[in-house]
C-alpha cells in the first residue's frame, strides 16, 4: 500500500483519479439537466461520490 511514498509519481499517475472523478462530476451535473427520474439518480450518485470519498480518505488510517 505504501510503496508509492518513497517513489516520485508521474503526472499521469497523480491526475488519473482526479480526472476520473472530475469527468464523473461533470456527467452528474449534466445528467440532471437532460432528464428526470433515472437521470436525476445518476446525478445524485456521481455528485455525492466526492464527498463520500473525502470522508473515507480522512477516516482511513495513513500508511
Amino acid at each position: 500500500m505504501s510503496v508509492n511514498r518513497s517513489r516520485r509519481q508521474t503526472l499521469t499517475k497523480i491526475f488519473a483519479w482526479p480526472l476520473v472523478i472530475g469527468v464523473l462530476s461533470i456527467t452528474g451535473l449534466i445528467a440532471a439537466l437532460v432528464g428526470d427520474g433515472i437521470w436525476d439518480r445518476v446525478s445524485w450518485a456521481t455528485l455525492l461520490l466526492p464527498s463520500v470519498l473525502y470522508v473515507v480518505f480522512l477516516l482511513r488510517p495513513f500508511r
Binding site: 508509492n4 511514498r5 518513497s6 517513489r7 516520485r8 509519481q9 503526472l11 497523480i14 491526475f15 488519473a16 483519479w17 482526479p18 472523478i21 472530475g22 469527468v23 462530476s25 461533470i26 451535473l29 440532471a32 439537466l33 437532460v34 432528464g35 428526470d36 437521470w39 436525476d40 446525478s43 445524485w44 455528485l47 455525492l48 466526492p50 464527498s51 470519498l53 473525502y54 473515507v56 480518505f57 480522512l58 482511513r60 488510517p61 495513513f62
Partner: protein, 360 residues
Amino acid sequence: MLMLCITGLPLIFHHEIDDLLHEGVPAAQVPPGSPKADLDLIIRNALARAPEQVPHFLAWDRDDPNTLFVAVGSSITADPADNRFLRMDAHTGAFLDLPDVTGRFTYIMLKLHTEMYAGLPGKLFLGFMGILFCIAIVSGIVVYAPSMRKLRFGAYRRDRPRIVRWLDVHNLAGILLVAWTLVVGFTGVINTWADLVAKLWQYGQLAEMTAQYKDREIPTKLSSVQSAVEVAEQAVPGMVPVFVAFPGSLFTSKSHYAVFLRGDTPVTSRLLKPALVDAETGQLTDTRDLPWYVSTLLLSQPLHFGDYGGMPLKIIWAILDILTIVILWTGLYLWLRRRKPTTVAAPAAARPIDQQAVSS
C-alpha cells in the same frame, strides 16, 4: 469567497426556508384540470389592491401552479427592482397576499450574495471575485502536482503537525471537488452579467423584432392580456407561458406584450421563447428563439443554484458548499502561515506546499 459560500448555503433552500418562516394565504383547493381564471380579471383584482400602481409583469409560479404573481410599480418606467409582488389565485383570480419580501432572511442573504447591497457595481465586483476564484482553482490544480509527487491519491497524514494535516485536507477536498467548484464558480460569474445580458437583448434582438414600431408610444388602452397569452400559445405550440412583460416595462417594447414561454423537459423548461403581441391590435408581431448569450445565462442558472434535480441534489449542493468552505478556510490558514515563515515547522517532505493556490 467565504461570504459567498456562507450566504449561498441558505439560498440553496430558499424556497423551503420561505415556506417555513412565512406563511402565505393558501390558494383555493381545486381538483386537477380545473379551468384557470381569466388573466384580465386577475390583473383587475390585483390593481384594485394596489391603487396608483401599474402592472409591470405577470408571472406564473414554477413550483405552485395554483398561484400567479403580478408585479407592480409606481409607474411603468419605475425601477423594477422596487416592484411589489401581489400573489393571486390562479383559479379564482382572487388576491391572496402582498408579501414584503425585503425583510426576509432569504432576501437579505440573496442581496449579500449577489450584490452586497451595491447594485450593479456590487454584482460586477462579485463577478470579478468569481473570476479570481476560478483562476485560484486552476492554479491549485497546477500546484497540486508537485505537492503530491510523493503521496498517493487521497493521502491524509493524520500523525503530522497541523499545517501538514490541513494541507492534506485542503488538497484532498480541493481536487475532489474541482469540477463542481469550477462549474458553480463560473456559472456564478455568468449570473452577475444578467443585467447586462438583458440590456444586450433589449438593444439587439428585441429592437430588431420591434424595429417598425419603435416610434410608437405606449397604447392608452391595452388589449386583453388573456388573449395575448392565447395568441402566444397558439404561435408556439407545446410550450407554456412563464411570464408576461407589459408594454413599456423591461423586457419588451413600448407597444407590445412580451409573452415568454418555456418547454417541459429539464433543459427546455429553462430556455425561454418570447412571443411579442401588439398591445393595440392583439395580433402576433413576432416570435423567435432567444440568442445564444441569453440561453447561456438561462442554462447557467440551474447549474449555479442546484435546483434542477430535486431535494437530494439540493442536499448534495449544500454538502459540496460546506466542503468548499473547508477548502477556503484551510487555504486561508495555509496562506497566513506562509506569511510567517519562521513559525512554519513543516517537515521536509511537505515543503512544496501549494501556497499560491490558497489565496482565494
